[in-house]
Each structure stands twice: as C-alpha cells, then as structure tokens.
C-alpha cells in the first residue's frame, strides 16, 4: 500500500541518504513545534474559554524569562540545522578530483549532453554507478535548471557562465531528469532520463553507441579552423601566449593580478579577451562572442585542457 504512495523519491546517490536524514530531522522538529502550538492553542482555548459574558482575562503582561527561553532554544535548534545543512552542502558543492566529466548545454527546450569521449545525447544521460560524475552546465538562451530528484541534486544552467554539479550514483536504474527553472513554452517538456548503469552495462553502452571524434579532437579542429593556432603557437613564438600548459595553472595578468585558468577563465578569455590580459602580451585578441556555439566552446576548452594533460604526462616522464 505504502509503496504505491511513496513520500520520498528513489534514493540513488551517495548524498541522497544524507539529505533524506536531514529532511527527517527538520520534519521531526516541524511536527514537534506544530503539535506544541496546536495543542497549546487547543488546550488554552478550551480550558480558559469564556464562561460568563463579562469575564475578563488575568492581567498577565509577559515574562522575560519565557521570552528568552523561547528565543534561545529555537536559536540553537536552527543553528544545528544550519550547521548540518551547510556541512552536507559544502561536501556536495565541490566535485572530488578525478571525477568523470560530462558537459551539459540547456536550450529551449532540450538538454544537450556531450561526453569527453565524443558520445552525444539529448535528454538522456548515461552514467556508471560507483563513480563520481562532474557536470559542467551552461545554457544557450535562458536560465534552465538540471534537476535529478533521485540524486537530490539540482543546478541552474545559466547563460554566459559555467556552473558545476556532481553526484555519484549508487543504484542502477532509470531516473527522472527535469528542468526546474521556468524557461518558457515547453518548460514541462524539457525532461528526460538519467540511466545509471552497472560498470559493465555502461561500457557496453559506450561501445554500442555511435560517437564522433573526442571532444578534445573536435576542439583541436576548431582551434585550427577559427585561427586560434596562428597566435597561440605551441612553441610560444606567436603573438599570444602558448596554451600548452595553461589549464589548471595560475596566469599572471597585466596589472599584477593572477587568475586560475579553469573552464570559466578560458571561456571568458575566448569570449571577452579584453577583460583579463595576460602579463607581457598585447591586448589584441578579437572577441569570439557570437561566433562560436556553447558546445564548440566546450570542445575548444576540452582541447586546451588536453594539452595541459599531455604536457604533464610528458614532464612526468
């Protein structure tokens, strides 16, 4: 009977249990205080009901001790909630190093997903269980929100920036994927499925589905076609800095500031190159705003990322 009327969605990620525990804790507090107030109102109203038409209440003004009690106790309770919630949130905010990467672009009204190996999906996401997966999310048009109730996870897809979200699925299955931020006409149709697969099934899916070149390969092609390579030469003899080892490192900027070369930094440098000028180089890179799609941009970044990886492996040897 109860399985027909569940009160929780399926619990299928490493954090969903923690969030449910917190949910139960806050529910217990809510039920306790709601009952406390309901019962007190009921008992007082009945016990002290007006018995004679001219009866007045006793002249009680208040009690500072009581006021302090019912301020301080709730204060400690809500601070506990805050601490617990912030703790769980903190650990679900930053993806663990080495997480498998997937790239998500929302547009009215579909989710476009690319895997680094070159697989592409629409409104479907295949992931293995037992492995952290990091999503880098953006939007081509308006704000969307990538929501997987079974994983208790959600992150907005905001045009003009990257947001990230991560999860580790624990149970194989097929789970709802919703757009949670209202995005226009077919908002409620911007839905799909997340397929969490056993490792073997996941590998079978990888083998069985068609794929293009990898994202980095596609990015390399774009890097050449869009003329990036003419300035950003590998041997550092071009007009722009070499991008060989830039990803993940610190970049010194004109004016003495520094920036960490992550996805968002690379994105900004391609679309709005004038905002942060690398120290020692002239500010002459043209903007690529409006000339490159969000998906291609992710591929170029994947390529730049792969350069740094190659470089690191080379140095290590």
């Amino acid at each position: 009977m109860w399985s027909k009327f569940p009160i929780l969605p399926e619990s299928a990620s490493t954090v969903s249990g923690q969030i449910d525990a917190l949910y139960y804790f806050i529910s217990a507090i809510t039920v306790f205080f709601t009952l406390l107030i309901f019962v007190a109102v009921f008992v007082f109203a009945v016990r002290f009901r007006r018995r004679r038409a001219d009866q007045v209440g006793e002249p009680i003004h208040g009690s500072t001790a009581l006021e302090i009690t019912w301020s301080v106790i709730p204060f400690f309770i809500v601070m506990t909630m805050f601490g617990w919630g912030a703790w769980v949130y903190f650990h679900t905010y930053t993806p663990p190093p080495g997480a498998m990467e997937v790239f998500v672009v929302g547009k009215q009204w579909m989710w476009k997903i690319q895997h680094p190996e070159g697989h592409r999906e629409i409104n479907e996401l295949h992931v293995p269980i037992g492995r952290p997966v990091k999503l880098t999310i953006t939007s081509e048009d308006v704000i969307h929100s990538f929501f997987i109730p079974a994983f208790r996870m959600k992150k907005d897809a905001v045009p003009g920036m990257y947001t990230t979200m991560w999860f580790e699925a624990t149970k194989a299955g097929k789970y709802h994927l919703f757009c949670a931020e209202y995005c226009g006409n077919q908002h409620s149709g911007m839905i799909g499925w997340v397929h969490a697969l056993e490792q073997a099934d996941y590998e079978a899916w990888l083998r069985g589905s068609p794929r293009d070149e990898t994202m980095a390969q596609a990015g390399e092609r774009l890097f050449g076609r869009m003329g990036c390579a003419s300035c950003h030469r590998e041997d550092n003899t071009g007009r722009g800095p070499s991008l060989r080892a830039v990803y993940g490192g610190k970049v010194l900027l004109e004016g003495g500031a520094a920036a960490v070369a992550d996805d968002s930094y690379l994105r900004e440098s391609i679309l709005k190159p004038a905002l942060k000028i690398v120290s020692g180089y002239p500010a002459q890179m043209p903007t690529f705003q409006g000339q490159i799609s969000e998906e291609n941009l992710l591929q170029v970044i994947a390529y730049i990322k792969s350069l740094a990886k190659k470089e690191r492996t080379a140095t290590a040897q």
Partner: protein, 549 residues
C-alpha cells in the same frame, strides 16, 4: 484613555439604530467617492478594488488546478497555462496581497487607532489609490492583450529578450502600483510619528500600528529597488541595453539579486500587517493584555530589518559561491526567531484568558496553525542541503501559500470580520462566518498540504504536464481548491448582504479595547467628536494597569 473608554464593554447585541451622520452617508455622489480625501472612504475604494482582483487572481488559480487534474497538458496549451500561473502570481501579489491589509484596514484604522482625524497627507492617500488603479489598469491591459508568460518573478533573460508576451504592460503595472505602495508607507510613517493623540506614547500603541510601521519601512526602502529592476528589464527589452542578457553583455544573475532584494522583504510587507491583526484579535477574544507586548513590537522591526539581508536564499542553485550560500542561509535562520517569538506570544496570550470563539478568533486560530506550518517549512528551504533538492519544486509553492494564504489571507479575513462592524456599522451573520472559517481552513489544507509531499517527490513548479505518479496528490490538491473557493465566496455573499441588511453593530460589538472602538460605527468623517486623551497602555482589559515596556 478618555472617559468614553471606561464604560463597560457593550456585550449584548445592539438594538439602537444606525447613527444619523457618518462617513458613509457624508456624500452619495460618485464624485464624493472618487475625489474623497477621507481615509475611510479611500479604504473602501481599496477594499472594492482588491476584492475584484482577488477574484480575478482566484479565477486563474481555478484554471490552474483544473489543468493539473490530469498529468497530460490537455486542457490548455502550454503557452496559455504559463500565462495562467504568471497572471495568478502577478495579480495576487501586486494587486491583492501587497495592498490587502495596509491599504484597506491599515488606511481605515491607522488614524483611528492613534486618535487622529485622518492620515498626515490625505491627498497623497487618494493619489496612492489612483496610482494603484493605473497600475492595475496596465496589469489588466496585459491580461486582455493576451497575457504575460514570464512567471511573476520576471526572470531574465527570458523576460527581457525571449518572451513574446505582454511583459512591458505587466511590468509597468507592477512598477506604477509600487509607487502606490511607497506613498502609503510614507503616509503611515509620518502619521504615526506626528499625529498620535495626547498621551499615546510609542509603547502604548496597539501592535497593529507597530506592524504597519515596520511594513511601511520595507515599502519605502524596498519598493524603489524593484521599480528600478523592472525599469531595467523594460529598457533591455525595448532598447537592447545589455544589463541582464549575456548575449548583450549583461548578467542574468544580477536581476535575481535586485529582484529578490525587494521581493523577499515584500513577503514581509504581506505578512507583517497580518501579524498586527493577530495581536489585536487574539487579545480582544481572550479579553486580556497581549503577552510580551515589547517583544512582539520589536520582533516586527527585527523581521523588517533582517528581512532585507536574506535575498540570496532564493539563489542557492544559481551558481552562487558556497560561502555566500552559507551567509544567506544563516541569516535566513535568524529571521525565524522573531517569527517564532510572535507565535509563542499569541499562544501564551490565551493562557488564563477569557477565550471566546467568535468568527474573527476562528480565523486567528487558523492563522496561528497555518503560519506555524508555513514558517517551519521555511526551515527546509533555509537549510542549504535540503534546499538544493526542494528549490523550484512544489514544496516551495506549498510553503509560500501557507505563509501568503494561511498567513496573510487568514489575517486579512480575521481583520475583515473583526472590523467589519466598524467599517459598515453592521453585523454579519455569525453562523455563516464560522462556517466559512471552517471551509477555508479545511479547503486550504487539502489544497496545499499534498504539495509539500509532491514537492519532495520532485515535481517541479510551473509544469503544464507532469509524470503520472504525481497525479493522486494533484487531484487531492484540486479537490481542496474547490472547497477553498467556496470558502471565499460565502463571506462575499454575507458581507454584501449585511451592508444593507445587517443589524446595527453599535460602537463596540466585541467589547474590544482601542480608540477605534470608542467612537460610533460607522465613524464620523472626522472620526472623533473630540480628540481623545490616552491615559493607559494598549489592551487594558483588566482595567487600567501599569504599562509594560
């Protein structure tokens, strides 16, 4: 207080005739209403206008609940459904809830409770009604021209670039109505500072006045920000100024900061006056001084101030930094404390009181219970980890309807029943009023409680069609809405009936304390024949006592 107060509270129904001269018969022409500067007549103008918009907004809600009876989007097209929930929100928030208690009962009662003849700026008061009407006219125009589909939150860049609906007219409506709200707030603040009767010190003021003072502060400080925000949306839409749309070089998150900087405090614009009503009603029907006067008064101000610092809790999933999230989370929890203080104090007021179960008190009991649930469920949303899951689901819809309907509308109905005899000079049929309190309470819970559950199950808000497993809870919700709708219609009928046919109420049918009850019902245009002099604190039901600080 003046000698008129010390007479025994009139407990028996009055058989005396209606007073010969009062504010309602001070003029019968249309002009005498449309050009009136009497705060009480302006209150009646507001009452009629917001009631009209309440039923327009309610009609949209009926349409929404009908569509959601089935999982498939089969009754309306997606485009029209999106317009329905947007216009439900826009109409209910900007044209009903924000003006509801302050502009009707606040307008009527603020001068009367402090023993003044009118507000400080009677003409500005009339201007604020006309601004409201102009704003509402733009809002209505947007509806008649096909409606707006952005959601009441007008999120960019959807509203500024992508939507093909009447965004400009709707935003202009909210923009103009905002100035009405600012002027009302300004008028209240000046009036409360400058026009209190002799002897009416700050800590003798009824808590209704404190609540309206806090509300006015938010109206003055917050509303200009939303006006600017809507103006910027309009400019981006009309002239492609790049402010919010990244394609034009803007930042869509900036909009959310600016919008919620007003719109979160706006929630307190809607709920604080209802809290003020609660303090009046609970004391009157317990016939007892309110418990913890000073704490209730100060908690209103605390809510107004802290309420300005919590806007970021609407943006936990927007890519906000983890530390910003923590700051907004902790401040949001702090605002729970003054709200809890109020709920505890109202409950404690009943203790050793002389509690009666008249209809305003039944609505007040409903308020305490529903506000408790609404407030406590806010904790799920203030908690970072749970909000990530619950944000933009039906849980949020349920939570704010518990505050906005369970809180603000129940407060409004309690107030309307409590002061109706003063407004109209007549009594309404009490049995029907009790029945409607029951209908509204049952209907409300049946409608919105299932939405907490369906929200945690993951149903996103603003969905035209939804997966089948959510249907049972949605059907329950729609069924409840039917009862709720009936509960709203019944008072409409008996209030309208009682306007001409109700028994004359006499000056003080509830035996309540407060200056407004010392004068005839309906009051004279000048409120009091002679300026009252106050000699005691508020709610001196057990006779004149030492006042509390």
């Amino acid at each position: 207080m003046s000698t008129t107060v010390t007479q025994a509270p009139s407990l028996a129904p009055h058989d005396e005739p209606m007073p010969k001269r009062h504010y309602l018969n001070a003029g019968n022409t249309l002009k005498s209403w449309l050009l009136t500067v009497d705060h009480k007549r302006i209150a009646i103008l507001y009452l009629l206008s917001i009631t009209f918009f309440f039923f327009i907004g309610g009609a949209f809600a009926v349409a929404i609940r009908l569509e959601l009876l089935t999982p498939a989007g089969d009754l309306f097209q997606a485009e029209n459904y999106n317009k329905l929930f947007t216009m439900h929100g826009v109409v209910m928030i900007f044209f009903f809830l924000i003006p509801s208690i302050p502009a009707t009962l606040g307008n009527f009662l603020v001068p009367m409770m402090i023993g003044a003849r009118d507000l400080a700026f009677p003409r500005v008061n009339l201007l604020s009604w006309y601004l409201y009407i102009i704003g509402a006219a733009f809002g209505s125009y947007s509806i008649l021209m096909g409606g707006v589909d952005t959601g009441w939150t007008f999120y960019t860049p959807y509203s500024s670039t992508y939507s093909n609906s009447q965004v400009m007219a709707a935003a202009l409506g909210a923009f103009v109505a905002g100035f009405s709200s600012i002027l009302t707030g300004l008028n209240f603040i000046v009036t409360i500072h400058k026009m209190r009767a002799p002897g009416l010190t700050w800590f003798r003021l009824p808590l209704f006045i404190w609540a309206h003072y806090a509300t006015s502060v938010i109206q003055i400080l917050g509303t200009p920000v939303v006006a600017i925000t809507l103006l910027l949306v309009g400019m981006e839409r009309a002239f492609h100024f790049g402010i919010f749309d990244p394609k034009l070089g803007g930042d869509p998150i900036l909009f959310q900061h600016m919008f919620w900087f007003y719109s979160h405090p706006a929630v307190y614009i809607m709920i604080l006056p209802a809290m003020g009503v609660m303090s009046e009603v609970v004391t009157c029907f317990s016939r007892k001084r309110v418990f913890g006067y000073g704490f209730i008064a100060m908690s209103s101000l605390a809510i107004a101030v802290i309420g300005f610092l919590v806007w970021g809790h609407h943006m936990f999933t927007s890519g906000q930094s983890v530390y910003a999230g923590m700051v907004f989370s902790v401040i949001t929890f702090l605002v729970a404390i003054p709200s809890a203080i109020k709920a505890f104090n109202w409950t404690a007021t009943l203790y050793k009181g002389s509690v009666s179960f008249d209809s305003p008190m039944l609505f007040a009991f409903g308020f305490i219970g529903l506000f408790a649930i609404g407030g406590l469920t806010g904790l799920f949303l203030a908690t970072l980890a749970t909000d990530i899951h619950l944000h933009d689901t039906y849980f949020v819809v349920a939570h704010f309807h518990y505050i906005m309907v369970g809180g603000a509308v129940f407060g409004y109905l309690a107030a309307l029943h409590f002061w109706w005899p003063k407004l109209s000079g007549r009594l309404f049929p009490e049995g029907w009023a009790k029945f409607s309190a029951l209908l509204v309470f049952v209907g409300f819970n049946t409608t919105f409680f299932p939405q907490f559950v369906v929200g945690y199950l993951g149903m996103p808000r603003r969905y035209h069609a939804y997966p089948e497993e959510f249907q049972v809870l949605n059907v329950l919700s729609s069924a409840g809405a039917t009862i709720l709708g009936a509960g709203y219609l019944v008072p409409m009928i008996y209030f309208a009936w009682s306007w001409k046919n109700g028994k004359p109420a006499g000056p003080n049918p509830w035996g309540a304390k407060g200056l407004e009850w010392t004068t005839q019902s309906p009051p004279l245009t000048e409120n009091f024949p002679i300026t009252p002099v106050v000699t005691e604190g508020a709610y001196a039901y057990a006779g004149s006592e030492e006042e509390v600080h």
